[in-house]
Amino acid sequence: MSTVLEQIEQQIAKLSSKAVKKNTGNIRTVADGVAKIDGLSDVMYNEMVQFPGGAIGIALNLEEDEVGCVILGDVSQLKEGDEVTTTGRLLSVPVGMELLGRTVDALGQPVDGKGPIDSKVTYPVEKIAPGIIVRKSVSQPLFTGIMAIDSMIPIGRGQRELIIGDRGTGKTTITIDTIINQAKINKVGLASGDKNFRPVYSIYVAIGQKNSNVVRTISALEAAGALEFTVIVAAPAGDNPANQYLAPYSGAAIGEWFMENGMDALIVYDDLSKHAVAYRQISLILKRPSGREAYPGDVFYLHSRLLERAARLDGKGSLTALPIIETLAGDVSAYIPTNVISITDGQIFLETDLFNQGIRPAVSVGLSVSRVGSAAQIKATKQVGGKLKGELAQFRELAAFAQFGSDLDAKTKAQLDRGGRIVELFKQPAFAPLPIELQVAVLFAMQKGFFEPVEIKKIVVAAASLKSFFTTRKDALLAEVRTKAALDKDLEAKLLAACEEWKSSYTA
């Protein structure tokens, strides 16, 4: 109570009798979350405006004699003639470490019932992306914990890697796995006391998703102990389109704080297809001219200005972006997918067929690519997995031909067997990311032929056995792989000996 009184007294002390200038306007029409306003002659583009009843709006259309605003908040109390005031401020969200473990809406307000967020700093939602001079090329790895990705389509800190696929192909799962893996790495790194260790903080932006899905994601992160390193920005399907349009930019602002303050962050936009749809809705209501598929002309800029904010800054931190795009019937050549593919530094394409065949994560090796990530891959992974992508591509080609005839020469059959084994080896359950050292050990065993005697159907079981052998009995060796990050002769000999030991104890 006394603090409330103190606050009121402080505010009273600040009051002055000087006249305050306000620029005002009046609502002419209000419909579908958009208000057309007369007046507001001083309003700036993207400025916050104050509606009666506490709702705020953003001025998006500055026309000759009226202003078009999207309204964030309750529109039911607004009516024609209501007075609207400019605020002179751009929309900002609270940022900082205080947001970790919290779920906020597009305006940075907590929606998780855990009380107010005590953040001292705010960042503008819309910000110009870092320029050329301040950037640094991607050279540090960001491990997803997914073997197929870390070995063949590696991602680096500061990269933008698109995750694209039809509905129900495991796009969100890949990103959640990645967030969980960052939390696991953070815990190990922070416990080690290594001064050079750089934790990765995650931001998950849910756009236009069902509330139940958002809850499921939060539960999965909580169960894996990853929520304490994560900020969730939620603009679910029930939110108005303006909030869904703003949520990714708010998330980017939260991520930028980590980047600007010398830390590394990862941001997931789930998903940008729904974001484009929300923006299309706003644009159509604002009567902006529509183009292909009724999207407005600036739909490319909508995503390019967002994704350009992910960067690795010289002398500061980085922001890695994993945008998600949902395709229809695997069509990557649709409007929004091609836009986002061209903006990002590569894509991970997930296929429905693979998913239905039980190959999960359903990563299509042929269509997936990482343009800058290989520079960030650690040497150990390159040593054991450098040729995997080519081998798998060859396998797919051969497998397609092998369907037509059963008479295959021994060499082809061996190649097919090997490919089949790699595919099985890459199968991984959801929410169980693998540490990079364990990935190296499994791939090393595969390259040295330890899985050759195992039947293809039993590879998953054998791989699980090898993983548990290494984690329970060869912890020191794994730690050595992790710290050295490259396989020298000594380490190779140790790994070979460990694999032999596993082989002698393993019975299929």
Binding site: A19, N23, D38, L40
Partner: protein
């Protein structure tokens, strides 16, 4: 339709030349003249002041010229206080 739009635009333009002075309590002609002079100087056009009693302000004045409002009333200060606490 066209005339309606034209009328609205004229009303907006005319409002820029009128200073609507809302006041709670008495206001003298000298104050009005001072407001007129100040606004004429500020906007670079002749601004005529019109007094309009408004008890809701509690005390003080509020001057409106076109879209701009100069708030110096107790009601305005209370509203600012309410929104900041």
């Amino acid at each position: 339709m066209v005339l309606k739009a034209y009328r609205r635009l004229i009303a907006i333009e005319l409002a820029k030349g009128i200073a609507l002075v809302d006041h709670a309590g008495a206001i003298n002609s000298a104050t009005l003249a001072a407001i007129e002079a100040a606004m004429t100087r500020k906007y670079g056009r002749t601004v005529k002041a019109t007094a309009r009693p408004n008890k809701e302000l509690l005390a003080g004045v509020r001057v409106q010229v076109g879209d701009d409002i100069y708030e110096s009333s107790v009601a305005g200060q209370l509203a600012a206080l309410a929104s900041s606490v």
